[in-house]
């Protein structure tokens, strides 16, 4: 059976991350979800502040995706009753709590970006003269 070729590494992926080791499903999700967010929130950002907040949002989104995938696998393994015969264990409460904290942080970064966006619509002249001036 022929396997699909691995997706090329997106340029915003940190150097120390082993892209090839990511499951194909995660690579596709990064390509379909994280990449467009990076283009919109970082590459098309008009100020350094928006760019920095956008980069944080994008990295949090990527991490959320990765954790969701891992949690999903662990839950599936647990349901299949194989939690004890491999190194994986069922997701612990602490892991779930940490994941929820991550989602909450992403939401806060997103809210900030929305707020900036609404501000831009309300006061276009501020952005016309430049926020950092």
């Amino acid at each position: 059976m022929e396997t699909a070729p691995a997706k090329p590494r997106p340029y915003f992926v940190p150097d120390e991350l082993d892209w090839e080791a990511l499951p194909r499903a995660v690579q596709v999700a990064v390509d379909e979800l994280v990449q467009p967010a990076y283009v919109e929130l970082v590459l098309q950002a008009s100020t350094a502040l928006e760019r920095a907040a956008g980069a944080t949002f994008v990295h949090l989104l990527f991490l959320e995706l990765l954790e969701q995938f891992d949690l999903g696998r662990e839950v599936a393994r647990c349901i299949a009753g194989r939690a004890d015969d491999t190194e994986g264990v069922s997701p612990r409460e602490e892991e779930l709590r940490r994941h929820l904290r991550l989602v909450s942080q992403k939401e806060k970064a997103g809210k900030f970006l929305m707020r900036i966006h609404e501000f831009r619509l309300k006061h276009p002249h501020v952005f016309a003269t430049g926020l950092e001036s």
């Binding site: 940190p14 120390e16 991350l17 082993d18 080791a21 990511l22 350094a48 502040l49 920095a52 907040a53 980069a55 944080t56 994008v58 990295h59 949090l60 990527f62 991490l63 990765l66 954790e67 891992d70 491999t86 190194e87 994986g88 909450s104 942080q105 806060k108 970064a109 809210k111 900030f112 707020r115 900036i116 609404e118 501000f119 309300k122 006061h123 002249h125 501020v126 003269t129 430049g130 926020l131 950092e132 001036s133």
Partner: protein, 157 residues
């Protein structure tokens, strides 16, 4: 010849039994090591052994000279250790992304500070202080500052 075969078969069975009995230990560690011996001017080998650690002790199981048995043991170890290696790879990737998040948050915080705001946890703080500093007052956003963002929504972001 027949004798050699039976010794090999016996060793194979012993090694297989050892692998089955110690699978829990070998899930985390263990490898097949190749070694050579010097006899007068001749280099003999390779001789294979399964090396592993039992607590602080370095131990090994002699596998003999049969490369097929060595390959079988290698494959068994790979199969046993694959879930652990996969898990470690995933953890390394998560750590790499966490570091990337920390770096981008630091950059975001540095940009916020230029506008008199700062990050605390995931929250952007300092809106009121920032507004208080504005020479033009609270109602209108002053040009070149982010103070007016506070007019959009009264909740802290």
């Amino acid at each position: 010849m027949e004798n050699d075969g039976s010794v090999d078969q016996k060793r194979r069975r012993e090694v297989q039994r050892f692998l089955a009995e110690h699978s829990e230990l070998l899930r985390r560690q263990g490898s097949v090591v190749e070694s050579w011996r010097q006899y007068r001017d001749r280099r003999l080998g390779p001789y294979y052994r399964l090396a592993y650690r039992d607590g602080e002790r370095q131990c090994s199981v002699y596998l003999g000279r049969d490369p097929n048995l060595a390959d079988e043991v290698r494959q068994t170890l790979e199969r046993l250790q694959a879930p652990g290696q996969d898990r470690r790879r995933r953890l390394r990737n998560r750590d790499a992304l966490r570091r990337a998040v920390a770096r981008s948050r630091a950059a975001w915080n540095a940009e916020l500070r230029k506008s008199g705001l700062w990050l605390k946890g995931g929250e952007v703080r300092g809106w009121r202080k920032c507004r208080g500093k504005t020479p033009s007052g609270a109602d209108a956003p002053s040009e070149g500052t982010l103070t007016g963002v506070n007019d959009v929504d009264h909740e802290d972001v």
